[in-house]
Symmetry: C2
Subunit: 147 residues, 2 copies
């Protein structure tokens, strides 16, 4: 369903070992790193949806180490080359990539597995409700009906 | 089994929601934050042990969002007030705390649950094999026989 400018997908390594795996998330030297504000986990139940949410300053770096999560993004930046584009993808340990989301893009996500669906967000700034907007799953703005 | 100087345990919040939880990990402003070098996950199978390992520069910030992990630490800093102390603890979503480990302390950890035992390390510097030492589970140095 198309792409969105400045949204970056970066394949990550999983290094298997005898006792368990090492799963990369983010390094300081990588181009997706825009400063460390806060790291937190968010879990989402099977079939449940969290969102929509849009940040005015925070850059998100999202990794899914457990379960599967479907992300839907909507470009709400009038000056963007991809204004009003929708982008949809699913991340999991099987499709182990980092999703970098710039400010000005709405995001919602849905739990896709009966296991624990968990994301880690390594956010560029600490949580600040003043820089985030929320909208309900069904709304007049975003032309997405897949939830 | 005692404590080790500069090792910090910080209780973390889990904020339940209708569709899932938010689980805090680390904020820039917290006293445990010593710079962002790299974030990675490490999984450890039920009853398996990873370690021992000691860093000369990296400060670890460890969070266990899934399963249960037992950590054993051994203070190998001759000038430390707690030189040769052993510290043992288990982290999980039920005992949801962040473990901060300074350089000079040996660490090993063990998977304690049949689910996925997973830690997140938010490390102060990127991975660098030159600043880490490894030792096998059974060794002459560390007076610990619990594995």
């Amino acid at each position: 369903m198309g792409v969105i400018d400045d949204v970056r997908l970066t394949p990550l390594s999983i290094i298997p070992g005898e006792s368990g795996d090492i799963m990369h998330a983010l390094k300081q030297q990588e181009i997706s790193f825009h400063g460390f504000g806060e790291a937190y986990f968010s879990t989402v139940q099977y079939r449940a949806v969290k969102g929509w949410k849009k940040h005015s300053r925070m850059i998100l770096n999202l990794i899914v180490p457990s379960g599967g999560i479907r992300f839907v993004l909507y470009d709400d930046r009038p000056l963007s080359k991809t204004y009003r584009n929708i982008m949809e993808l699913e991340l999991s340990k099987k499709n182990y990539q980092r999703l970098t989301v710039p400010p000005g893009v709405w995001m919602a996500f849905q739990g896709m597995s009966a296991e624990v669906n968990m994301l880690l967000n390594i956010a560029s700034i600490p949580h600040d409700p003043a820089e985030a907007e929320n909208m309900s799953v069904k709304n007049e703005l975003i032309p997405y009906s897949g939830f």
